[in-house]
Symmetry: C2
Subunit: 346 residues, 2 copies
């Protein structure tokens, strides 16, 4: 038997921010590594966990319907994980294989049954590239693919055009902006603190501003004097409205997310008629529809990163017991770069 610390959904929070210990908690259980595996079963050891704001939406009463399922009370939280196969009775998964799941369990060890084995994808690239497994939850994982598909497929970037990215210090945002630079665009980002603004400039954004201490319209006027050709929208609401005010004719809005709409009294843009007058295309997308672009994405972005054309920053909490606070930090926007929790080294 080994200790198996789990991160448990204990109680539905009554306000936006959960409280560590009350709504999310860690508990130590035991795991039997010597258990007899039936056909198709295998055991994984978690290496790193992805901590994402969208998890808050799953911390709800299961009677509330949404596009994703509610977490189960008393069970581990679920989100992106990179893990190592340590024992296997499944010919598809060999001991030493690294595996990714978009809904892995937040615990040190998991027993995977044959009927859920499909939820795990072999991702042995870290062993080839030498990049940390955590990067395959961010830069080279779902957020990276989201930035890549959104900007390239729906943003249709062109040299010398202007790209505006909101929530630009997020994992998706920082990559979308940097990808824009690889296409020769003029890139502007907005974020919620001066520290994040500095970080964006270090990462090669041509301009950046703090949307909490500045008027978005004024800043876009200043920083996008030739207008916006591509708006990569992670925020929606009044940020979308301000972006629309500065769109050029035939511009594109990449509809990636609208975090503003999860507020208690969400605001909504009042200038949609401009989408017609300015001949704008808005495309909403969900990254899971675009796995056909995954190989090309991972090849391109790995290459660009190793060549130094892209930077990457993550916020790494060390130890599974740090997970509840890491999630609370994310919900407060305190993380700078992709938030991950290291459970153990590769």
């Amino acid at each position: 038997m080994v200790k198996n610390t789990q991160v448990i959904f204990k109680k539905v929070p009554t306000s936006y921010l959960p409280v560590a210990g009350e709504h999310i908690t860690t508990q130590d259980t035991e795991f039997d590594l010597d258990t007899q595996l039936s056909n198709g079963q295998f055991i994984i050891k978690q290496l790193v966990l992805s901590v994402d704001s969208y998890m808050r939406g799953r911390m709800r009463d299961p009677s509330v319907k949404s596009y994703n399922s509610a977490f189960e009370i008393g069970k581990p939280l679920l989100c992106g994980t990179m893990s190592s196969v340590i024992k296997s009775n499944n010919p598809q998964f060999k001991v030493g294989d690294l595996v990714y799941s978009s809904g892995g369990k937040f615990e040190e060890y998991s027993l995977v049954d044959d009927d859920t084995a499909d939820d795990y994808k072999i991702r042995n690239e870290p062993k080839e590239t030498g990049l940390p497994p955590s990067y395959y939850l961010g830069l080279l994982g779902m957020p990276g693919l989201t930035a890549y598909v959104g900007l390239i497929k729906f943003g249709q970037p062109k040299k010398d055009e202007t790209l505006y990215v909101s929530a630009a210090a997020s994992c998706v945002g920082q990559l979308a902006g940097q990808l824009g630079k690889t296409f020769g665009m003029n890139v502007i980002g907005s974020a919620g603190s001066d520290e994040k603004v500095e970080f964006l400039k270090e990462f090669g954004f041509d301009n950046a501003f703090n949307y909490k201490t500045n008027d978005i319209n004024t800043k876009l006027e200043e920083q996008a004097p030739k207008g916006i050709d591509v708006y990569y929208d992670n925020v929606g609401g009044k940020t979308l409205e301000a972006a629309i005010n500065h769109l050029n004719h035939y511009s594109r809005i990449v509809g990636c997310g609208m975090i503003s709409q999860y507020a208690d009294h969400p605001e909504t843009p009042a200038n949609l008629i401009e989408l017609i007058k300015r001949r704008v295309q808005f495309t909403g997308f969900v990254v899971t529809d675009h796995s056909d672009m995954e190989d090309e994405f991972r090849k391109d972005v790995t290459k660009w990163f190793l060549e130094g054309k892209l930077n990457y920053k993550e916020s790494l909490a060390d130890g599974i017991e740090k997970t509840p606070q890491a999630l609370i930090d994310v919900l407060q926007g305190k993380n700078l770069g992709k938030q991950v929790v290291k459970v153990t080294d590769l």
Copy 2:
């Protein structure tokens, strides 16, 4: 000298509806048909005038900027006209040619100078097809092209899909819906009176409802049980919001117009996040960008109309002096089908 009745913009209205005689009026002037034409000049006699709601936006103080220019006080209104060349000193325009202008003068006779000759396009098709010149202001004119480009290029219609058209009894709306039928779509339309709803059903819409006496969400639930694949939006606001509630994944919104946004207190959709969740593409367009599709459009629609695959209804006021009231009718939604004013027969 002949009498030349003009429709004059007399005064900027203070409320939405202009008053005939006060803000728009007719006046009789004289026109010298025997005038010596300088190089490039020609004289036209108006046959039929297009009366469109967007003219209200041009009846403003010129200091108010907009995408179109303000009408000049004391000068004739301008909008689509079909005319006949009756005298010419311009080799491009021969006596007997029919000409279309998107901004022709609302008067019986006009002298066209060489430097504005380009505003007139030869449109002799009525002489070949036998169809009335007025059809070239509606079915076979700009509104027809708007319906055609919007549905075909941006709606990407597919057999057995569901199309919803708002302001469906308008010239653009009736054509968009009927074009949907030619693609084998299930077509739903909404309009502002029971008479218009009946008319839509006669024109082959599978379902139609009166948005003034019904809840739009309830009606879409009933009439689009499989969801909406293409929403041809002429209205925006809460109609757009209701349509979004019923959109299928990968559906398209054709952003053609948002008449609701000209109200004193326009409403705006509060569910734009659904555009992401449902992977929706919204494309705003302005028909004047798509003259490359004009030949194909006119060929197709003439053929389909002559084959009986399309119906067409216009509201024809007889006599140029009826123009002020015709415009007021349009602004009140009283017209059924494209509003035109016949000035004289071909």
